[in-house]
Symmetry: C2
Amino acid sequence: MNPLPTDNLDELFRFVYSTVQSAGAKSLDYFRSGLSVENKALPGKFDPVTEADKAVERRLRELIEHRFPQHSIVGEEFQPREGATNNDYQWLIDPIDGTRSFISGVPAWGVLLALLYKGEPLLGAMHQPYLKETFIGLRDDQCPQAWLFREQLEKGQPLRVSSVESLAQATLFSTHPEIFDHIPGAFDRYQAVAQRCRLMRYGGDCYCYCLLAMGQIDLVIEADLQDYDILPLVPIVEAAGGVISTWSGEPLRSGGQVIAAATPALHQEALGVLNEAH
Amino acid sequence: MNPLPTDNLDELFRFVYSTVQSAGAKSLDYFRSGLSVENKALPGKFDPVTEADKAVERRLRELIEHRFPQHSIVGEEFQPREGATNNDYQWLIDPIDGTRSFISGVPAWGVLLALLYKGEPLLGAMHQPYLKETFIGLRDDQCPQAWLFREQLEKGQPLRVSSVESLAQATLFSTHPEIFDHIPGAFDRYQAVAQRCRLMRYGGDCYCYCLLAMGQIDLVIEADLQDYDILPLVPIVEAAGGVISTWSGEPLRSGGQVIAAATPALHQEALGVLNEAH
């Protein structure tokens, strides 16, 4: 049973929707415009951070602090905020996931927000301001829900994964071959799965998991993710009927190596191939 | 000097814009919906063709035949149509470029249309119906023009490539590693360039060339393209100030191996690396 921080589920959805919309609007001032890119990584490593990142996170924090002053907040860009009275609830922010897509003009990036309870993702949202798409998922034992809202909250479409059960029928996505570079052997293990799939494409960042929740693709395999990259997507995938775990099949409670599949059968087959080559 | 088939340039732009819009609207009936995918390739090769492809090409042909009955038409899906009186003008159609993006729910595909004069691309258009974006370019010695129209023809933004002149500053895009598979050594030559770039991403199909024309990315390198995949994009890239050629530096008059760059200096540096490893 997952306890919500409010009795009014409708109000919680409305809060999350309006919060990511409001914050996401800040990013459009910077998308496809003359963009100042800071480089916070070591020389030679390209890890762009934009003004947009900071503007979005600042706005998310303002709105969350105002509505839920007792909760803690952890984001990519600023120092964590301790909750005033209750640290069981934590909001986790990735203001712009997919900064490489962002600076390249490709609308596959997103504003990510999760509400965790005792470290478990309860509710997650992905908002793509250019496409005007917002994906929200709620993990709930009784009544899981996942929705795509386009332009307005009143017209949501329920999200439902595909029924694909085998790699031979599956479309696999991953952001980029380089994400496997830091773990010895990881790319070969990934390739062993990819070669058995009907179709494999790169690109997508957080949007991959939303395509999975929509039933458009069937499998996502990635590595080297941060907790704020992936925990907001867990409720979206799971509430749409999908399965998401680490490469060892454990529940996701932090970043790392991730596999998300439309069905338990596909998840099992892909995990088997990932790990037999290991 | 490029002769246009009408004295009224404004009317020609209006015709091309309304034609790709009208045809593109047909595709949205099939995008992200329960989709029937025919397989026209050999068993084991996945080359999806959708009903959308046929519906879009049928509509493009209707509108072109009505307005320019004397021109010939060549498209991906149907038999070529001989022009009634004048074969110097040919319309070249790729109803849905990027069918793999299409069936995966990723809005990087596009409706492509070119007007060729004696085999040279004069005018080209790329329309992305889900994003409501239309890119049109006109190659003209006196006054080249390239525009992005969003939602309406009245509010066009002029397209202009970036000023990036070196690989070390460049963002490189390509659709997928597999597109180099058919040419021995091509992937290694591609990688030699990629390793010198600031950033390299996969994904995009025809949208890559539009990102280049917008100044968002700086370099696109691909192989194994058909003439209808690439000739409609030549006027967009060139009229935005970019350089596009074969891997030997020859002008593009058919498909094959393609390199498009924001500036002549970047084009030369990339060509040098592509061919020194060769």
